[in-house]
């Protein structure tokens, strides 16, 4: 066998395992991916939009929330599955011991896990957008870029989740991460309210939030892209690359004695 770094055959093999497993639970995932945005749009978009908020940033509130919820779907279908999935596969199922006994290294393992989560989140991330269309959002050509934006952001959050799982000793420790990091990222992304009306400090924090940049990219893809969006996309790419290297490093420390 010719040994090479990041062998597509190894990465494909690991992804085929993910696909085989996903085939056993895709119905539940798809069901919640469709129903969740419907519930949110009824609660926030229709409920709040009809009673308290009418328009935000020149958009109907239901469309403002619907486009923003793409980012919510992405973080919850990438960071959380990466954290819990990686921890369970390592500590309880011992899946990684089996995979690393084959001609596969940790870098390929992490890359394959990230790619599968990225593809899945890229796909399911589009569901809120499709659901919002049923609530009156007009289709636009720019929306074709949304799966790519979701994929790249999901890669970064998948890498983050893997790095967290590799660093955690107990699954309970994830509570700190979800409460202190994921929830604030989700709330301060500009999904439910525009961040430019927040205090300066909160605005600065939101600008450091990758999820906010995804929200902006999705809204602009739906209503008109800007030159600054190129920088936003670049930022997400660089973040993904940095977190990928971190995840590989943390997993190597975890998996190789």
């Amino acid at each position: 066998m010719k040994v090479r770094r990041l062998d597509p055959a190894a990465i494909g093999g690991i992804m085929s395992r993910e696909i085989a497993n996903f085939r056993t639970f895709w119905k539940g995932t798809t069901f919640s991916s469709v129903l969740e945005p419907v519930v949110y749009l009824f609660a926030f978009g229709v409920g709040l939009g009809a009673t308290i908020v009418d328009r935000v940033d020149g958009l109907e509130y239901v469309q403002f929330v619907g486009t923003g919820m793409v980012a919510t779907a992405v973080i919850f279908s990438s960071a959380l599955p990466a954290m819990f999935g990686t921890f369970v596969k390592h500590h309880f199922q011992r899946t990684y011991d089996a995979i690393l006994a084959a001609p596969v290294d940790v870098e390929e393992l992490v890359t394959a896990e990230m790619l599968f989560i990225g593809l899945r989140a890229g796909f399911y991330g589009c569901f809120p957008l499709l659901v919002t269309m049923a609530f009156g959002l007009e289709p636009a050509w720019g929306m074709l870029l949304v799966p790519i934006f979701c994929f790249v952001t999901a890669l970064a959050f998948a890498a983050f989740g893997i790095a967290v799982a590799a660093s955690a000793e107990k699954i309970d420790q994830f509570n700190y991460v979800t409460t202190l990091l994921i929830t604030p990222l989700f709330l301060l992304a500009g999904t439910f309210f525009p961040i430019d009306q927040l205090p300066q400090g909160a605005q600065a924090a939101a600008n450091l939030n990758p999820l906010h940049h995804l929200v902006e990219l999705v809204r602009h893809a739906s209503f008109g892209l800007e030159l600054l969006d190129l920088a936003r996309f670049g930022l997400l790419l660089v973040l993904g690359l940095a977190l990928w290297r971190l995840a590989v490093k943390r997993m190597t420390l975890r998996l190789i004695d």
Binding site: M1, D97, P103
Partner: protein, 304 residues
């Protein structure tokens, strides 16, 4: 059984290998060679360093010192190339339980870069005698079937070397016998096998040679019959009596230079054929010396 000396290269070579985990030295200057074509039983009590040795051989543990070569590949540098030519059957079941039997095998055929995945899966199913359960989810298999599937997964790419880490630990006797039959067939086909175990009977039945490991190093090695002859002589006498009487018999035997070991409620006088008249009580049960005698004498641990 093939004579070791008549064989070619070594499938495994470890020279003065150390592996420490903090204060604990799991592998302590280990020297071990496994010639191609034999089944070597790595026999040792729990905590002897067997599983760490297995992880060193797959590159999942990096030695602190020493040299490792597997199938001509230097480890850990060429671990990936070495793993391509070896199959590993782990101690713990790590199959994907919701996935079908054939999909579990197909994933690993792909990881081993097999071009004809379907053909490899069929061959592996035949080895494990699971062809009729190929579309069943692993969760629906019996314990024995799952173990056979684990073995089949390690063989899906027809490896030159097979590492079996405690292949029958925790299994009931019937399933263990099924596994032994399968391993025996592999051995007959000339596969090189390194099998760690703490079951004496397993080592005695399956291994061409046995290496006794304790505290991270090999303390004895040879064909089972040779080891027994060298370490335990020809005959062992087991004495069952009250504790006071056992203490008397033990003292007398040890004064004669004989080795005595605990054997459950009894004591076993090893090398009883060398005892002078009267040293071994008439009520003692005499039997041929066994690998268990060797194991207990060398490791100081009760055998399983």
């Amino acid at each position: 059984m093939v004579d070791t000396l008549a064989r070619g290269m070594n499938a495994i070579e470890l020279r003065d290998v150390f592996k420490r985990f903090g204060e604990i030295t799991a592998v302590d200057g280990l020297d071990l060679t496994v010639p191609e074509g034999i089944c070597l039983g790595l026999l040792g009590p729990n905590g002897a360093g067997k599983s760490t040795t297995m992880r060193l051989l797959t590159g999942q543990a990096i030695p602190d010192a020493g040299e490792l070569t597997v199938l001509g590949h230097e480890l850990p540098r060429d671990a990936k190339a070495a793993r391509a030519e070896m199959g590993v059957v782990p101690q713990l079941d790590n199959l994907d339980v919701d996935v079908t039997v054939q999909d579990n095998l197909a994933v690993f055929a792909r990881l081993y870069r097999i071009k004809d995945v379907a053909g490899a899966v069929d061959r592996a199913l035949d080895i494990a005698r699971l062809r009729e359960r190929r579309t069943a989810a692993v969760d629906d298999l019996s314990g024995g079937m799952r173990r056979r599937l684990l073995l089949a997964r390690g063989l899906v790419h027809d490896p030159r070397l097979l590492l079996l880490d405690e292949p029958t630990v925790g299994l009931d006797p019937q399933i263990r016998t099924q596994l032994w039959t399968l391993i025996g067939e592999l051995r007959a086909r000339g596969k090189t096998i390194l099998m760690s175990t703490h079951y004496i009977e397993e080592a005695q039945r399956l291994a061409d040679e046995v290496a006794v490991m304790t505290k991270g190093k090999i303390i004895a090695r040879g064909k089972p019959a040779e080891l027994i002859e060298q370490c335990a002589g020809r005959e062992t006498a087991e004495v069952y009596a009250a504790p006071e009487r056992l203490a008397e018999v033990r003292a007398a035997a040890e004064a004669e230079g004989l080795r005595v070991r605990p054997a459950g409620p009894a004591i076993a006088i090893v090398g009883a054929e060398r005892a002078r008249n009267g040293i071994v009580p008439e009520e003692a049960v005499r039997r041929a010396a066994s690998l268990e005698d060797v194991f207990v004498l060398l490791t100081g641990e009760e055998a399983e």
